[in-house]
Amino acid sequence: MKILVALKRVADPANHNKVKIPAAGDKIDTAGLEWQINPFDLYALETALRLTEDGKAPKTRLGEVVAVTLGPAETETNLRSALATGADRAIRVDTTDDALDGRLVAAALQKLVEEEKPDLVLMGKQVVDGENNYVGQALAELLDWPMATFAATIKEEAGGLLVGREVDGGVSTLRVKFPAVVTVDLRIVAPDSVRSSKTAEGFKYPYEEVRFAPLPAIMQAKKKPLAVKKLADLVGGATLSSKYVKFEAPPARKAGVKVKDVQELVQKLATEAKAI
């Protein structure tokens, strides 16, 4: 199986409450926050690795995993870390974040997919900065491929995947045939959420969430192929169609109080908050 994994970098998600919005409201300033791979995309990479291995022998790649990002030269750090965890090759589409919107990303990925011809495209269900939740579904439509979004479990079958999806009110299960697009949700990294055709039933990965790259792999990753493409070569003269005209900070909540016991809580909820 050949899998293309799309990755985007985001400012440290655990510190999103530290972003600043200047008085002019013209940007979201993430200065001081470290760049990381969007956590859901990291989960997509882990999923791709699990689907191209026997869980018992994760050092042997039984398929090909190609990691892709769109961004400036420094995003190669993120691609190198994907290579160190097990991806075989990487592609960077040279551009800057402010030159992109969802439509351009989907269009660029469509061209890459047409060149690379993977069986499966994997990515996170959303990026945690822009939170638009768009690219995977749009890409599937542009390719006229089936999709399974919000995947919490994946089982490889002949010619496709059985995907359990977390939806409002429960779990929806879809069967998709290759080639397909799958976007992954949080629970996809549970120890037994993803099973390739080579991994034994009942196998559980012995770690939480995602694997880490051992030091030698980090060294080897420097030698793995990393190609750079120009955005214009993929999307021609296409331009932005979403324009952010203003940013603002959320309103602050007024500070609350501590209550000493349950009785005081109930009394305050009744008389002060009038919530019960």
Binding site: A11, P13, N17, V19, I28, D101, G102, R103, Q126, V128, D129, G130, E131, N132, N133, Y134, Q137, A138, L143, P146, M147, A148, F150, A152, L162, E166, V167, D168, G169, V171, S172, T173, L174, R175, V176, F178, D185, L186, R187, S241, S242, K243, V245, K246, F247, E248, A249, P250, G256, V257, K258, V259, D261, V262, L265, V266, L269, A273, A275, I276
Partner: protein
């Protein structure tokens, strides 16, 4: 001048889901910019019956696409029809439920339309709709304008009051299902395992009681009596869902359900930024945590430092007493 199309969402048993009413509200707020009317598209195996539920909201028409192959929602079967109908409109909207989030980007791509997902508000700038979107786990809002001839957007349910019936009687028109593309032939609906619950829907409840990792296997033992007493929906942190104490669809947060009830209880929840993003719009927030330094206390209107296994049963007793007194 352009019209707006609202895509209705149906429940598994074919009724109009309340999420639809939030999407109608978005449409009504955007109407002054586009200057036209709004219509509603209903798709499903019993779309006509559901359409009849929507005739009193002031829509120009209700379009009903009834087809047995639409019984179970699958994006590849729905998107071609939504896009074909959507071609005649300037803006196509739905609620940002898992249905809308799954379907609408696909529709947008088919219509070559720009997309604003999970909007928390809309405003009007001349003839432009300006979409307000939460970003960075709710730590910033962006106001975005879309530059394509047709635009597609989804509404965050907790931020748009459900539209109330406004009288009148919109005509219902049947529309034929558009033949799906190659994608549809490679996807098969297998099952929908609905978590059965007599409790109110998490997104619509007036009170939510949410538990975290601290609940352990006692999650429902502790929370059920409290939820019963308050008529509340039950929510959970990611840690509680990941550990299997609660099903995944109860997760509240940036990447789970976004809720904004009148009253929210965070019990044994530390208050990670991703959790807060999903509930900080609640009117009154109560936190119960044994760690006085837990970040949730910075957000809570009322904080109780206590062991939840003692505090919650005591709270249930006291709430019952209060209820009895109130009569």
């Amino acid at each position: 001048m352009a019209d707006i199309l609202v895509v209705a969402e149906l429940t598994a048993d074919g009724k109009v889901r309340k999420t639809t009413h939030s999407a109608i509200t978005l449409a009504k707020l955007a109407q002054p910019a586009l200057g036209g009317s709004f219509s509603i598209l209903v798709l499903g195996a019993s779309a006509k019956a559901a359409a009849a539920e929507l005739t009193g909201f002031g829509a120009a028409k209700i379009l009903a696409c009834e087809d047995p192959s639409l019984a179970n929602y699958v994006a590849e079967h729905y998107a071609p029809t939504v896009a074909a109908v959507g071609k005649g409109f300037g803006l196509v909207v739905a609620c940002a439920s898992s249905f809308g989030k799954d379907l609408m980007p696909r529709v947008a791509a088919k219509l070559d339309a720009a997309y604003a997902g999970d909007c928390s508000g809309v405003s009007v700038n001349g003839t432009q709709v300006v979409f307000k979107r939460p970003m960075f786990a709710g730590n910033a809002f962006g106001h975005v304008q879309l530059g394509t001839a047709i635009q597609v957007a989804t509404a965050r349910q907790s931020e748009f009051e459900p539209a109330a019936p406004s009288g009148g009687s919109s005509p219902i028109e049947a529309v034929a299902k558009v033949a799906p593309g190659a994608a549809a032939s490679r996807v098969e609906f297998v099952s929908l395992e609905a978590v059965k619950s007599a409790r109110p829907d998490l997104g619509e409840a007036g009170v939510v009681v949410a538990g975290g990792r601290a609940m352990k296997e006692k999650f429902f033992d502790v929370l059920n009596p409290l939820a019963d007493t308050l008529g509340a929906a039950i929510g959970a942190s990611r840690a509680a869902c990941d550990a299997g104490y609660a099903p995944g669809d109860l997760q509240v947060g940036q990447t789970g359900k976004i809720v904004a009830p009148g009253l929210y209880f965070a019990i044994g929840i530390s208050g990670a930024i991703q959790h807060i993003a999903g509930m900080k719009g609640s009117k009154t927030i109560v936190a119960i945590n044994k760690d006085a330094e837990a970040p949730i206390f910075q957000l809570a209107d009322y904080g109780l430092v206590a062991d939840l296994f003692q505090a919650v049963p005591a709270l249930v007793e006291d709430l019952k007493k209060h209820k009895a007194q109130k009569g």
